[in-house]
């Protein structure tokens, strides 16, 4: 599992990514903190609009311009260096080589007019410009076979449309692996795949991780992927971190009411459920967040304090942090009374 004695490879500190629009400021990511250790798999779970994808785009330095802006005081430390202070040229060197990303839809992340082989080579050439093309081709075929594409020699000259969705996503995986990254961000990478293909792909990622020791961030809405793949989980809601903990701790002992409710509202393949709990209402609009806790109007435990002020991050256990007023010492005491 995680080598805790070495320092984190990636640290996100008070990340705030805002969109300045004519109608107001949309706080897509609002004060997110987490650390990622080498070889670890971190799951970032949330619904649409929770800020999980914008967090990953912020790390990659790909926040949509010009409306999107990472606010002053935010820090993204990769091996101790703040990525937000890097020039575009320096970021280009980091993207693809140090930190890579796999997106949901392989049809849109591959270029339809180039062969898949060419697209793998393109990334290889980025990392070393003086390579001869014959050795590049060899390495590209090697990568394709590493992501278990059958007959990689003949697949090398295929165009993306000649491949199935699962194959295409493998090619995207090969491109991501081309720079042998230290951090891989998989943003809903298996959502569009069929069940048995998803299973194969997740197994492949795990295998590649064991081989290379890279750290993986899984951005997903699916607790199943978290349960299967992750060491640690961060739950996001309305641009903020609701809870972060080790995976077993989170599943056995969820502290934030949102995490708890979300887990109870997911149907289960492993047992019969008579009635599924459902969270009423819907997530708030991000350009008009209530002053208090963003989950307050859907929370079954809501009380006055929740509506007034956003809760602080509270240590709820070993490596377990949740942002909820119920967990603060003063209110726990009040409740006990």
């Amino acid at each position: 599992m995680v080598a805790a004695d070495t320092g984190p490879i990636l640290e996100v500190k008070d990340l705030r990514t805002y969109f300045h629009t004519r109608t107001g400021v949309v706080k897509a990511v609002d004060g997110v903190n987490f650390e990622l250790y080498p070889g670890e798999t971190l799951g970032v779970v949330g619904e649409s609009g929770s800020g999980k994808s914008m967090t990953s785009l912020s790390i990659m330095g790909l926040v949509p311009q010009p409306a999107g802006r990472i606010e002053e005081g935010s820090q993204i430390l990769y091996r101790g260096e703040n990525l937000l202070e890097k020039s575009p040229a320096e970021m280009r060197q980091i993207r693809g080589k140090e930190i890579c990303m796999i997106l949901q839809d392989p049809m849109t992340s591959l270029n339809p007019v180039y062969t898949v082989g060419n697209q793998v080579i393109e990334t290889l050439r980025q990392s070393d410009e003086n390579q001869r093309s014959s050795s590049l081709k060899e390495r590209a075929i090697d990568l394709l076979s590493k992501v278990k594409i059958p007959a990689p020699d003949s697949r090398f000259t295929n165009f993306p449309h000649q491949m199935s969705g699962g194959m295409r996503q493998r090619v995207v995986g090969a491109i991501a692996m081309a720079g042998s990254p230290n951090v891989l961000i998989a943003d809903e990478a298996t959502t569009s795949l069929d069940a048995t293909i998803q299973y194969q792909y997740l197994a492949l990622l795990k295998e590649l991780q064991e081989e290379t020791g890279m750290a993986i961030i899984f951005i997903t809405h699916d607790f199943g992927i978290v349960a299967k793949m992750c060491d640690r989980v961060a739950v996001m809601y309305a641009g903020r971190m609701a809870e972060i903990a080790d995976v077993r701790e989170l599943f056995n002992n969820p502290q934030h009411p949102y995490t708890e409710a979300l887990m109870r509202s997911v149907p289960n393949v492993d047992e019969d459920i008579d009635f599924l709990y459902s969270i009423e209402g819907q997530p708030p609009a991000l350009d008009n967040l209530p002053p208090g806790c963003s989950f307050a109007d859907r929370c079954p435990y809501v009380f006055d304090k929740c509506l007034e002020e956003f809760p602080p991050a509270v240590v709820a256990g070993d490596r377990h942090i949740a942002t909820c007023w119920r967990l603060t010492p003063e209110l726990a005491a009040q409740e006990a009374r």
Partner: protein
């Protein structure tokens, strides 16, 4: 090897009185032609190849399988937007293909649909009230007052406010739009609603709301559902009967409890093994099936699943397995039984 208990009567032949719709050996072949002037037939895609099942009154029948298995084509034939190449579909005991004029209109009114994507299934230029009432007003002209009453009931039943009938679809979130689509489907008091992936486009916390709503409306209206889904957890929560399809054929069919307690076909087992766990401590039986779903243009001989099956035997590549009774309610098409 045990011999099958009884030889497979198609599910339709043990039909009891209360089935709404019965499909018997239904087939849909799509021709592939080449040439402009002399269109030659060069092949056929056997999208659905001899599928039989029945849907009982007030029950949910689910079709599961990966993309290309024919579940959507089957649903389209039930909706009569696609004409079967062969086979019989009975609606309340009468052959639906013989329906003319008024009978067909009645059939169309009795079978409604809710689709996956509530962003594209609602006309953006119509008010929600008109969207919901359009099917009803087309089928039975009525006075303004009466129509208003109907609309109020429908809005209330799907959990929307009266005033929201005046809004346009863009003013709603995904979950609310799906409620609108459900209200529209219910307006004609149908006997059967085809639900094509009704929750997979929705956010996790909203899915439970819609699933519970669908179950509650089933009790209230006594409507049957034909559910098309790929998520086994959703299927387990929603269904009474489940049919598993692979490359156009039914491979296993059983009541939901039997299917999950005793999955028998290797493909069903693989699907369950590939489904994501609900807790990190759940270890699934390792069941790796290699490869992908083959092209339906040129399906493998014998059992379509044999190239991927871990239990493959010699006869599997030669003989088509028949659907056999494993128990009076449980059918499976596999040579192992």
């Amino acid at each position: 090897m045990t011999q099958a208990v009884t030889d497979a009567p198609t599910s339709a032949s043990n039909g009891s009185g209360n089935s709404i719709i019965e499909l018997e050996n239904i087939r849909k072949y799509f021709p592939i032609t080449r040439g402009v002037l002399l269109r030659r037939l060069v092949g056929e895609v056997k999208a659905v190849d001899g599928v039989s099942f029945q849907i009982k009154e007030g029950e949910t029948y689910s079709l599961v399988g990966e993309s290309g298995c024919g579940k959507t084509t089957t649903a389209r034939m039930v909706l009569q937007v696609e004409t079967p190449t062969d086979g019989v579909m009975r609606f309340n005991g009468t052959d639906a293909s013989r329906f003319t004029g008024p009978e067909r209109r009645e059939y169309r009114a009795s079978v409604q649909a809710v689709f996956q994507d509530p962003w594209s299934s609602l006309n953006p230029r119509m008010r929600v009230g008109s969207i919901i009432m359009e099917p009803l007003l087309t089928n039975q002209p009525m006075g303004k007052h009466e129509a208003q009453e109907h609309l109020e009931t429908l809005l209330r039943d799907v959990g929307l406010r009266q005033a929201q009938g005046e809004y346009y679809p863009h003013e709603f979130s995904g979950g609310q739009r799906q409620r609108i689509a459900i209200a529209r489907a219910l307006s004609l008091r149908p006997k059967l609603i085809v639900l094509d992936e009704p929750v997979s486009a929705l956010d996790v916390s909203i899915r439970a709301q819609i699933m519970n709503l669908l179950r509650q409306l089933q009790d209230q209206y006594g409507v049957s559902y034909l559910l098309i889904a790929h998520n086994l957890a959703t299927v387990r929560y929603m269904s009474h009967q489940v049919g598993v399809m692979y490359l156009g054929r039914m491979v296993e069919q059983a009541p939901v409890r039997d299917l999950f307690a005793n999955p028998s076909h290797p493909y069903t087992k693989a699907l369950i093994a590939a489904s994501l766990p609900s807790h990190p401590d759940i270890e699934r039986e390792e069941m790796v099936i290699s490869g992908e779903v083959p092209s339906p243009l040129n399906p493998p001989s014998g059992c379509h699943f044999h190239p991927r099956c871990p239990m493959v035997m010699e006869r599997c590549s030669v003989d088509d397995p028949e659907l056999r009774q494993l128990s009076p309610v449980h059918q499976v098409a596999c040579h192992l039984f």
